[in-house]
Amino acid sequence: MADAVYTGSMMPVALHINGQPWRGDVRAEETLLEFVRERLRLTGTKRSCESQVCGACTVLVDGEPISACTYLTFEASGKRVTTIEGLAPGGSLDPLQEAFIHRGAAQCGFCTAGMLLTCTALLQAHPQPTREHIDRYLNGNICRCGAYVQILEAIQDVAVARRHVRERADGRSGRSTSERPPRPR
């Protein structure tokens, strides 16, 4: 669109995308989905239902999941945006991605980027999530192949691995996990 006939507002934006600073002007109506896919060519974020229902375009803004399809880019100014490309900086996979591969939690893979980002936010808020926590976060991410069971297994794998790491750390500091004293009330 030529600037001469453009009738909208240009909005100044300064944000971090996957840890890198980005500064520039965007059209007021530019969605975050257009911004990451078309402007930045980060095409891991998928366009699907475009009505906040399916979760394929999930990205994290300051660590919280949002639907990029209906989120205006200027709203992300001053914030940290994380797309699927930001989960594996330098090519080394996140433990959640490893767990998805190990469990076969992706079939066609179209929902996977959004699933992984929602799961990342879930595990950030609830390192040992209950089934209710998982439902609260994942009820808005739809997988048409039906890999839900494997996705749940992958989440549990990461939660268990993190618990083991923590317990070993506690063990090294002199406390035995099996004989932990009762918590003070």
């Binding site: 669109m1 507002s9 009505s51 906040q52 639907s67 989120y71 200027f74």
Partner: protein, 288 residues
Amino acid sequence: MLRPLRVSQPTTVTEASAELARLGEDAKVYAGGTELILLLQLGLVHYTHLVDVKKIPALGELAWDGKTMHIGAAVTHRRLERSADVAEHLPLLHQAAARVANVRVRNVGTLGGNLCFGDPHSDPAPALLVYNTRVTIGHHGGARSIGLDEFFVGLYETALAPDELVVEVEVEPMPPGVGSAYLRCARVERPSLAVAVAAAQRDGRLAHVRLAVSCIGPVPMRLQELEARLEGATLAEGQAILRQAQRHYEEILQPVDDGHGSVAYKTYLTGVLLGRALTQAVGANGRQ
């Protein structure tokens, strides 16, 4: 694809209202945008100008003053879901906020936006109707306050004038000892039926009964006639009254046959969910 939009970001209610007055039908108040951006993309509404109200400090406030909860219109569902004050004093709203759509919508969508959109398929509306809830409406000449029941006028229609905006809602909790329950039936994210009930049981008799229903009629509503009939009844009598009130639901709520179900199904289900919620409310004894 969205058409070009101009965005203004006023920092006071007066400025926002003046902007709305100046731009007339070309402009719409914009907060979370979870409904508005969707409708613009679908081409169901046409605005060339958005008045972003999130820079107005009062609209972002969430405060408990010891008696009343003040919820700024631009407070997100997620903040309500995570607020310890809301969980403690307004358990119904806390439950309803946690049920809105999905976590992404809750992170962005606002309480004021949900109410102003006037969609009858609202989670927070029935919860707020059970409490004494007032809506503070601002315009460039000042402010006015109306009850939430007067705010909903019709399908997607509210009492707001074109140059007015919701500043905050003020919510008073139920008295101590009054329990409550929020129940919904949904095949998709928007509920097909949602009910909110508050009640206490004293010496085997129901007291402080409040019943609210959303989704099946054009506006979310309190059922005050039924509340009066339940007051002083036993729980079993109350259950029977709610189950047998299908004709009343049809007259008062004015349901229509649609993709969510037939009128007969909706009124039957209303009796079932209200009955269940009543049992939960008196069983919970003041806690949720």
